[in-house]
């Protein structure tokens, strides 16, 4: 029916009718563009409704817009954010002029009207049918779009700042900075809706819009900036993992740039300061690395990172006030201590109170309990190598620290672009306090112990291939005791009959040069010069002085021969002419004078080792080394000695010994690794010098020798938990021993013999939990036995530091608000002791006294040692600095159990007066400020 009516209309309007009919029948073949463009260029694609009625002449082309007129966008509509389409019916005549139009679908009256009036001014190319223009009726959708307005928003930075870590002022990079707008109507100057504005500025470079906020991130220097933020109040949030969320309120003013610096707090300031145990890529089978300073928080060590070695498996409990490092049942003198590859004379201040190298200037502490490679010589037990850290170069840093025993400061920072420097110094004042108190209570004695140390390190990095550093490092310990005059002695022997003086000091300079010659050649050079002096005067009885200028040199070249094979060749040399002076009263009240000048000691140790990976999971490190000792006068071995080759004549070389060492590691899979090591070791006889002096020892003593065998297994149980188990067996022979009455009875004129044997074996376990969100800690267990053989009876007896069980738990837990609490629990089998078998009374002295008659040596043990240490730390975060306060209590268990170092008795040694004497509760309270 409709078709008929259409057919009756005049021919002129047929197409128009056809188009309308087609629309009504839903046969629009080309849809109306959903969104028209307001610009003229896009006008052609704004609309066009095409149809091809089946029964009418075919329309060749629909009208094409030739002239687009922009409709007026009323301001109030813009502000209200009204946008959308006004759909109109247009009758376009054969001249392309809009003959008439009507709103089909309105948007807003003002916009409808504006559109209606505007489209009338459009000019089209008329529709064509069979080559002739025809009038058509078509729909046109006029789109009012705010984008056009938004495009006019200018880009300008009106809010920027820096995000720094609170306290340390370290820039926080890649942090998210979010600006929110609590009052969207605050900026009256906005001509478009607020959301549209945000959307638009969110498209500006380096920021984006999300949920009505503008977001950016900080750069490597912690900088951030926002562009074209609306004025008014804003809320700024900074977010970064591991940090507390920062929230600040700001008010932006139109036409002004606001610049801020924000300080964001870490949840904990020890994130990077973790202990690594058997986890880092390492060559040695039993290398235990303590990196950075989380270890400073281990309770019981007063913040001293080096002392934490005593909490690792394989290290015996140090006797109270000794600080001795006894590794796997060997003597303290059998271990060596290095700083950046060269030996340091003294590791700890007196009493083992603190290490001489300030922990704040440390990078890491490496501990090798045994089975180590050829890098180290003149050693038969373990090695501790501490590494100083490079001075920071980002800005000036300063730290001051004061506790119950000492105070220190450290300053570091850049000097030039390539040079940075670090200076730290520390001095104890416990002696000053002690002296003051003694004066106050008028004791008839005066004690003035003190120590100081300093480090000045300068780093120069001219290029990425070369690094130089120079370290000046020194330490002094001095003790002066003045009391009532003590009778006896001779006035020209000591410093006086009323005083004991002891002084140990050294000053050393270390120069280092690391050079990456090429990708396959790396060289590391270190030279140090040390002047050391040990002085002792005991009333008028003894005065001794030992002085030496010590030269240390180490050069190691690493050659990468192939991707699987690296060769390390090096020289580890130490040479020092030493002077000894010893005056002492003899049993006959005469003076024994010993003076030795320019006695050359040292160790010249060339070495070579290979790091070979024949399989991806297999690593083999064989090495050889030769140690020459200029102070010795004997025929050394020519074949590496793994035991005393009594049946062959190996002693045909110079005064030195060759060593052969091998390390093998095999990775079973990502979580399991097995490892083996063996090697022979040697050292100059200890105590150094005394054993080989003509008068006191034997100038022809041979080097002390050892062989070590280690097998181990590592299990990475999870990302945080690791286990390391090692079994070892060590042999020592040619150990020097003092002459005995038995030797004297047989006419011996020697002071020392090198005929003692030792053996040590054991099992060690380290179960460690790395730093998690709150907890880090470890359990260290050592099961060991250390024995020495009597050269006469060939009987084995316990070594004085044999400790069957040594169990330690170390844990630290982070609490909110920067509180951290940690504890250390230690149980150790009592040290061997020689029991009292009877009592004697010496009537033959000026002052008669009772004395003990001892039983078999080391045939009994002290009661077990138990200790509980506690550490509580609280940080106060300021903008530019951090204040840390801590309480470190050693041996808190003293009140319930007194761990013995020895026993005292009354003057008659009555058993019922047996009293344990040992570690006492030992608190340390301190404050530290970091700027």
């Amino acid at each position: 029916m409709l078709f008929k009516s259409v057919c009756n209309v005049p021919r002129k309007v047929l197409p128009l009718i056809c188009v309308l009919a087609t629309i009504l029948m839903g046969q629009i073949s080309e849809t109306v563009p959903a969104k028209g463009k307001a610009d003229a260029g896009a006008a052609a694609s704004q609309q066009s409704v095409q149809q091809q009625p089946d029964s009418l002449p075919a329309i060749d082309s629909m009208p094409r817009l030739l002239e687009f007129i922009k409709a007026d966008y009323p301001a109030d509509c813009v502000k209200k954010g009204i946008e959308g389409e006004v759909v109109l019916d247009l009758v376009v005549d054969t001249l392309g002029i809009v003959d008439s139009c009507a709103v089909v679908k309105g948007l807003f009256p003002a916009l409808d009207s504006s559109a209606l009036h505007t489209v009338k001014k459009f000019r089209f190319r008329p529709a064509l049918a069979q080559g002739f223009p025809i009038p058509v009726i078509m729909q046109y959708a006029y789109r009012f779009n705010l984008d056009e307005i938004v495009q006019k928003i200018q880009q300008y930075v009106n809010f920027k700042g820096r995000l720094l870590e609170r306290g340390t002022r370290i820039p926080v990079r890649d942090a998210t900075v979010v600006v929110a707008f609590p009052d969207s109507s605050a900026d009256h100057s906005l001509s478009i809706p607020f959301s549209a504005y945000l959307k638009k500025i969110g498209s500006f470079p380096n920021q984006h819009c999300e949920d009505k906020t503008i977001i950016t991130t900080t750069d490597s220097l912690g900088r951030f900036e926002f562009t074209s933020l609306p004025s008014g109040p804003i809320t700024v949030k900074a977010i970064y993992p591991g940090y507390e969320q920062l929230k600040e309120e700001e008010r932006l003013k139109a036409g002004e740039q606001t610049e801020v610096t924000y300080y964001i707090q870490r949840f904990s300031y020890g994130e990077n300061e973790i202990v690594v145990y058997g986890k880092a890529e390492q060559k040695e089978v039993a290398k235990r690395t303590l990196t950075l300073n989380e270890v400073k928080k281990v309770p019981g060590f007063g913040g001293d990172a080096v002392k934490v070695v005593q909490a690792l498996p394989g290290v015996a409990r140090a006797s109270f006030m000794s600080g001795a490092i006894v590794v796997r049942g060997a003597s303290n003198a059998d271990s060596r201590f290095y700083l950046d590859g060269v030996q340091i004379p003294v590791l700890f201040h007196f009493g083992g109170l603190k290490s001489t190298y300030n922990s704040d200037a440390l990078e890491s502490v490496d501990f090798y309990p045994g089975g180590f490679g050829t890098r180290y010589g003149d050693v038969t037990a373990g090695v501790i190598e501490i590494k100083g850290r490079q001075a920071k170069s980002d800005r000036i840093h300063a730290t001051i620290d004061a506790n119950l025993y000492d105070a220190s400061f450290m300053v570091e920072g850049p000097v030039t672009k390539n040079i940075s420097t670090l200076l730290t110094a520390r001095r104890s004042f416990i002696g000053d306090i002690l002296s003051w108190v003694i004066r106050k209570i008028d004791l008839p004695v005066s004690v003035e112990p003190y120590y100081y140390d300093y480090i000045w390190r300068t780093d120069y990095t001219p290029s990425k291939n070369q690094k130089f550093y120079l370290t000046l490092f020194g330490s002094q310990d001095e003790l002066q005791l003045i009391t009532r005059p003590i009778r006896g002695g001779l006035p020209n022997v000591g410093d006086g009959s009323d005083q004991v003086n002891q002084k140990t000091f050294f000053n050393m300079g270390i120069a280092g040069w690391d050079w990456t010659v090429s990708p396959s050649v790396k060289n590391s050079f270190t030279y140090s010069l040390t002047y050391g002096d040990k002085y002792l005067s005991v009333f008028n009885f003894v005065k001794s002085d030992q002085r030496a200028w010590i030269h240390n040199l180490r050069n190691q070249t690493a050659l990468t021969l192939s991707p699987d094979l690296t060769m390390n060749v090096g020289l580890d040399a130490q040479v020092y002419p030493a002077n000894f002076y010893l005056d002492m009263i003899t049993a006959a009240d005469t003076v024994s004078k010993d003076t030795v000048n320019n006695w050359v000691f040292g160790d010249i140790g060339p070495y070579l080792n290979f790091d070979w990976k024949p399989l991806p999971a297999l690593e083999i490190i064989p090495g050889i080394r030769y140690d020459y000792y200029p102070e010795l006068d004997y025929r050394g071995g020519i074949v590496p000695a793994f035991w005393d080759y009594a049946h062959i004549d190996n002693h045909q070389g110079t005064s030195g010994e060759p060593s052969l060492r091998l390390t093998v590691k095999y990775k079973l899979n990502e979580k399991h690794l097995v490892k083996f090591a063996l090697g022979n070791y040697n050292q100059t006889p200890q105590p150094l010098g005394q054993t080989i002096m003509e008068k006191w020892g034997d100038p022809h003593l041979p080097a002390t020798k050892a062989a070590q065998y280690v097998a181990g297994y590592e299990w990475t149980m999870s990302d945080l938990i690791h286990t390391d188990i090692e079994a070892y067996y060590n042999d020592q022979w040619n150990i020097p021993r003092s002459v005995t009455s038995q030797d004297i009875a047989s006419g011996s004129q020697k002071g020392f013999y090198a005929d003692q044997n030792g053996r040590m074996y054991g099992l060690e376990l380290m179960l460690k939990h790395d730093q998690g969100k709150h907890f880090f800690g470890w359990i260290a267990y050592s099961l060991s036995r250390s024995e020495r053989q009597d050269p006469f009876t060939k009987q084995w007896s316990l070594y004085s530091k044999d400790e069957t069980h040594n169990v330690q738990f170390v844990g630290s837990y982070r609490l909110p608000k920067y509180w951290e609490i940690g504890c250390r629990v230690r149980y150790v089998t009592g040290d061997p002791t020689t029991p009292i078998a009877g009592i004697g009374y010496n009537e033959g002295t000026q002052t008669p006294r009772f004395f003990e008659i001892f039983g078999p040596k080391n045939s009994a043990r002290l009661d077990p040692f138990f200790q509980l240490d506690l550490r509580i730390e609280k940080k106060f975060m300021m903008k530019n600095w951090i204040l840390t306060s801590y309480l470190d209590i050693q041996d808190l268990s003293y009140f319930v159990y007194k761990s013995p170092e020895f026993y005292t008795y009354n003057f008659r040694y009555d058993q019922n007066t047996k009293t344990p004497v040992g570690a006492i509760i030992y608190p340390s309270v301190g404050l530290s400020a970091e700027f």
């Binding site: 108190v437 209570i441 004791l443 009391t483 009875a745 002071g751 009374y841 002052t847």
Partner: protein
Amino acid sequence: MNRRSVKSTLFAVLASGMLLFSCTQFPTQFGYIGPEYVQTVGFVFSPMAEGAPGDTLHLTAHFAGQAVHSFACSLSTQYNLSIYGNDTAVNFIPLVDPNATFGPDSISLSFVIPQNFFASSGPLILAVLKDIPDSVKAKFNLDSESLKSVPVSQLPIFAGLFLTTTDFSKSDTATAKMMAHLIETLSGQMVLHCAVNGGYTIIRNITVRYNSHVRGDPYVYINHNPDPQWFAMYKVKKTGKVSYDLPHTENDTLVCIYKSNNLDSSKIAGPRLFTDTVLIDTGYSYYMMGDTGIFIFDSITPGGAHVTATDTTLDKSFSFDNRITYERYGYTWFYEPDSTTLPGVKPENSVIIGNSGGNVSQFLPPLDTVVQKVNLWVRASDVSDGELNRPVGVSSKKLSLVLKYTAAYAANVQKK
């Protein structure tokens, strides 16, 4: 915590620390004599504190406390002295003296120093002889050639005969010193072990040397047992100090409880009383003293000034490295409340004398004023520097001390 308790705490902490560094002696009950122990008071050898091979020494051992009911002695002549001064006695031989006697508080016996005591000293003597110039040897007909003919094993006998038969009185100083050195080299020590009542072992070193047989060499010394001339209690007004080395004042008193008949009492310095009774009062410190053996005057130096020394009549002072070395006396005090005040007095409430080894020892008065009289044994020993294997001379003396208390003291003292 008040100031006093703070002070006490600090002192306690410091005292613990000081023990590590000093040799300070604190009063103990070492000298307390109780009935449960045999207390050795002194081993006195006569005729003197040394002997030569072949000499007979007589030992009188004095005891207190538990009565002696058995004893056993042995002697070692192999006394090894190591290069560090460590000594080890070996090969003890039981000492048998058929004439030995013992009573509740003493043992008396004699023994002969073995003739072969220096039998193994031949190499040592040979080494010393090599250092003596031929010119000196010639003075004593000891020419090198004739010495070479003496077997090393016989040198000790040869040296002993030479030293005991030669008159050195006409020797010049250098020669006399050389001979003294030879004599000193030829010295050693024996060790006496004595077990009393099956209890602890008492050891006593005995020096063996020829000194007492050498004639005419002024550089050869002989050690006699000490002969103290007086004993006293020194009563010092407290001044807040704990040292006894104070310039004494008129408030201080020397209560002389024993004086040798030979001593001119005017030569004892300071305000003094000659009585065995001491009035114990508050506000005083007390010290037991004896003469030092060096001065007729006591070591108390009035006003801190040094008094002129007068040598004792017994053992000479001698020069060593251009300085005078004196023999000095030291004392060990043993004490018990008189039986009239026992039983019922705890040892800690009785007197305590802190033995310092010197001539002055701190005396802590009783905390129980029941103690009216104290029996004292004092062991005197002598010491001197500069001699190898110098013998220790010992003597002992029994004394008594009567204590009176002021009302103030009795009112303030508190028993433990």
